[in-house]
């Protein structure tokens, strides 16, 4: 216990400093964090992460939260997070200014199976803030275009104003072998895109079910429908991956909060294949 702060103890946050804050929507901000000058050599605190992993972000004196890493896995000098303000801790987090310190632990959890995705079409399906843990997948595929098949991004949000990364969505749509489709629940007058839940986009996609991998993140109810429809469209359950969400206090498997049946979402997940999740998703209040 006498070790200097955070070199070995996975429970102690490292102070990172806020380099940039970008407003994405009325309630969602993207924060870029820089590691402290002297980075400890312990593997846990490197900025390397796999797409889909998350950190525990500590707001001084307020609380600590699981937040997915939403940045480019190739950019090792920073960690990027997209945070939606829904309560006290996230509100304080999005109010950070450049130069403020945020405590970081991690990265934690399993990533999206990028290895398995090589040579296949990658179908990314996101609802709301669920696009954040999927953005690193998109960067990874676009940086290593030759390794993967087609990239399909299906994205649903409440309204056009709630779409994250709007400029990037447009830019991604212009890349070769990339299809980007967005849908909203309430369109308004200036929206010419699709209206309806994200599964209504499937009919516009040329799916190659036997050579695709699908990654979905969003509200649980959305993922349930997405997985069911993907299966109907011919994807095998083990080729569908979901990112699950539960209350978390430690991210190390000690606090017990994130249990989901036999799984600890923090260390066995948050990303699981649908064949493992399906029997559990059927259970109300599990």
């Amino acid at each position: 216990m006498m070790a200097t702060a955070a070199t070995v103890d996975p429970m102690l946050p490292q102070p990172y400093s806020v380099r940039q804050v970008v407003k994405e929507t009325s309630d969602t901000f993207t924060l870029t964090l820089e590691p402290p000058a002297l980075e400890p050599s312990s593997g846990v605190y490197r900025n390397r992460f796999q797409p889909g992993q998350f950190s525990m972000l500590w707001v001084f004196g307020v609380g600590e939260l699981p937040i997915s890493i939403s940045g480019d896995p190739a950019a090792r000098d920073r960690l990027v997070y997209t945070v939606r303000s829904v309560g006290q801790a996230t509100q304080t987090l999005v109010s950070c200014e450049v130069g403020d310190a945020v405590g970081v632990r991690g990265p934690f959890g399993t990533g999206w199976p990028m290895q398995q995705a090589q040579g296949r079409d990658v179908i990314v399906i996101a609802g709301g803030i669920g696009l954040a843990p999927l953005r690193p997948v998109i960067y990874e595929v676009l940086h290593n275009r030759e390794k993967y098949g087609r990239l399909v991004i299906l994205y649903g949000a409440r309204s056009p104003h709630d779409l994250l990364y709007r400029r990037e969505l447009t830019a991604w749509a212009r890349q070769r072998e990339t299809q980007v489709l967005a849908t909203v629940d309430y369109g308004g007058l200036n929206w010419h895109g699709n209206v309806g839940v994200v599964t209504t986009l499937f009919k516009y996609v040329r799916l190659q079910p036997t050579r695709s991998l699908a990654f979905a993140c969003g509200p649980e109810i959305m993922m349930r429908f997405v997985a069911r429809d993907l299966e109907t469209n011919g994807l095998a359950r083990e080729n569908i991956y979901l990112s699950m969400e539960r209350n978390m206090k430690c991210a190390l498997g000690f606090c017990g909060h994130c249990q989901y049946g036999p799984h600890f979402i923090c260390k066995d997940g948050p990303i699981f294949s649908y064949d493992r999740m399906r029997p559990l998703l059927e259970k109300y209040e599990l």
Binding site: M1, M2, A3, T4, A5, A6, V8, D9, P10, M11, L12, P13, P15, S17, W58, F60, G61, V62, G63, E64, V86, G87, G99, D100, A101, G103, E245, R246, N247, K249, C250, L252, G253, F254, C255, G256, H257, Q259, G261, P262, F264, K267, K283, E285, L286
Partner: protein, 388 residues
């Protein structure tokens, strides 16, 4: 390593054992009487132990009563367990100071004292092994637990009597101590004699035992048989049973059993059962900061799956009904624990039965489900699942 033949100690030598452990730098902790219950606390001398006391336990009931002898260990387990020391109810995770825009983590917690546990029962030894697997046997190790666990000197005690709430025999954990201990004692009291059969379970134990210079370095065969019979007597007193055959699949396949609604009508979701359970490990973290906002602390505290907040995610709690919370607790304890950590999470100590204000009995709840499984799917026969 010294041979592990049982020796015999006198009452005075047990007194000396405590002093000897002090001399070796241990803080000795063990059972003491406080507020009408036997709880664990610092033991300075033999008379700090519950000398001549016993306990009466039933579902929802606990009483202390005088014995008609001066036994040191003539009772079973009380409301506390050794997790009080190894996995404390409240512990500071960190202190931080803000300086300008940034902050510093001051990780200057003093090292916990080196402790000797006096009077660890078989089920409790099994419970420590369960928490070892949870808190230091998996992907990450909990440094707070590790710092308290390392170098513990365990003086175990074989039970020579059982409470009506005990069911260690069902869970394969007792009443005879097994596993890692330094010394184990079997108390023989009555008819003008008071002595202890002692066995060393480790080199450290053997060393201390040698220093004690036992009354008999090798206990006589008659004495050993007497000790054996005393433990057998405890085993035969045990009435409660929990049939662990195929229990994981039994509970997994009875997620919708009507019994969960039935128990939910009785359960107060008070969380007592999780506080007294020696294996329950869940915690929450609370942040505190001073008025100036320059000093912050994070405290880890025991939490319970019976609270509404436990499963809160933005928008509401995943388990909002009492039914789902009792089901989570019992299914975790007896079924998912096996998947997670390779053993049952229950050691059969009976605390949750005794300390439940409405007397809910885990063995009874399992029986009710087993006797009328809701699911038609046949529960696969598999070997029983107690502790390894």
């Amino acid at each position: 390593m010294a041979t592990r033949t049982p020796a015999l100690l006198t009452l005075e030598q047990i007194e000396r054992l405590v002093l000897l452990l002090h001399g070796r730098g241990y803080q000795v902790v063990g059972p003491t009487v406080r507020d009408g219950a036997i709880v664990y606390d610092v033991v300075e001398k033999l008379s700090d132990l519950p000398v001549g006391w016993t306990d009466e336990q039933e579902a929802g009931r606990y009483r202390l009563r005088r014995r008609n002898d001066e036994a040191l260990f003539g009772y079973v387990v009380g409301p506390q367990s050794w997790k009080k020391y190894l996995h404390p109810a409240e512990v500071r995770l960190l202190t931080a100071e803000r300086s300008g825009h940034t902050f510093r983590i001051l990780n200057n917690e003093p090292a916990p004292p080196r402790r000797a546990f006096l009077g660890v029962r078989a089920c409790e030894l099994a419970a420590i092994a369960v928490q070892d697997r949870v808190l230091q046997g998996d992907r990450y190790g909990d440094p707070i637990y590790a710092a308290r666990r390392e170098g513990i000197f365990i003086v175990a005690v074989n039970c020579t009597q059982a409470a009506p709430t005990c069911f260690c025999t069902s869970m394969g954990t007792g009443p005879r101590v097994r596993g890692a201990f330094e010394l184990s004692l079997t108390e023989l009291v009555g008819l003008g004699k008071h002595e202890f059969v002692v066995e060393a379970g480790s080199d450290a134990g053997a060393e201390v035992l040698a220093e004690l210079a036992p009354a008999q370095a090798v206990a006589s065969q008659a004495t050993c048989q007497e000790a054996e019979a005393a433990v057998e007597r405890a085993a035969s007193q045990i009435q409660r049973r929990l049939d662990t055959t195929g229990i994981r699949d039994l509970l997994y396949s009875n997620f919708d059993h009507p019994r969960w609604d039935n128990v939910a009508q009785r359960c107060l979701t008070c969380a007592n059962c999780t506080m007294v359970c020696p294996t329950c490990f869940c915690t929450t973290v609370e942040d505190v900061s001073d008025v100036t906002g320059t000093h912050a602390e994070r405290w880890r505290k025991w939490d319970s799956c019976f609270t509404q907040n436990f499963s809160y995610i933005h928008g509401g709690s995943v388990r909002s009904s009492a039914k789902s919370r009792y089901r989570q607790w019992m299914t975790h304890k007896l079924a998912s624990w096996i998947d997670q950590f390779g053993s049952s999470g229950c050691v059969g100590c009976g605390r949750c039965i005794t300390w439940c204000p409405v007397g809910i009995d885990i063995t009874e709840e399992v029986r009710a489900i087993r006797e009328s499984p809701a699911s038609s799917s046949q529960v696969r026969k598999e070997s029983s699942h107690g502790n390894p």
